[in-house]
């Protein structure tokens, strides 16, 4: 475990990881303010 969340920032990369790791995706739309 790291000390922060390792966010993906591109959908294609997240989908690749999801398929490879057989996991789902948490997509967070955020507003940095």
């Amino acid at each position: 475990m790291g000390d922060q969340i390792k966010w993906e920032t591109e959908m294609a990369a997240a989908l690749d990881r999801a398929r490879t790791e057989n996991k789902n995706i948490l997509l967070d739309f955020f507003n940095p303010g």
Partner: protein, 150 residues
């Protein structure tokens, strides 16, 4: 979320072990339009093909975000007829976070998943009775109301 929830060790650990985190700035196209997002934070659970199964809008404290993510993962299994996997995740949610805001929907989905697995309507009635006893005025109690007759 950045100040309280995402730095929480329990949240970091859960995400690291269970789900791929993807962050997109609100307004970035085409994703904001593709997902019809109007407000932040909007959190969406996608399956590995990018299909949406669960959505929330608004802030979550750490002790609510983890069960909400479990519910999202459960819905991927439920929507794809993998009811054993859905039940495993629902049991994790209900044992680990029985007082969370996600628990009533989890009780409902557990009843439905058991029914889907067995064709026995008894779990539907049991789900209604649990909801009635614990959340007498709850939204999911109302949704389960017809099951009292089974």
């Amino acid at each position: 979320m950045d100040a309280v929830t995402y730095p929480d060790d329990r949240v970091i650990s859960f995400i690291d072990e269970n789900i791929i985190p993807l962050r997109v700035r609100f307004g970035v196209k085409p994703l904001t339009d593709d997902f019809n997002v109007k407000w932040t934070p909007t959190l969406i659970t996608l399956d590995p093909e990018g299909v949406e199964h669960h959505r929330t809008v608004g802030f979550f404290a750490p002790e609510e975000l983890i069960p909400s993510m479990l519910l999202g993962i459960t819905k991927v299994f439920f929507d794809t007829n993998r009811f054993d996997d859905a039940l495993m995740n629902l049991d994790k949610l209900l044992k680990g976070y029985p007082e969370s805001d996600s628990a009533p929907e989890a009780i409902y989905l557990r009843g439905v998943s058991l029914y889907k697995n067995t064709d026995d309507p008894k779990p539907l009635k049991e789900a209604y009775e649990k909801l009635r006893d614990k959340y007498p005025a709850g939204e999911w109690t109302k949704r389960a109301y017809p099951y009292r007759l089974l």
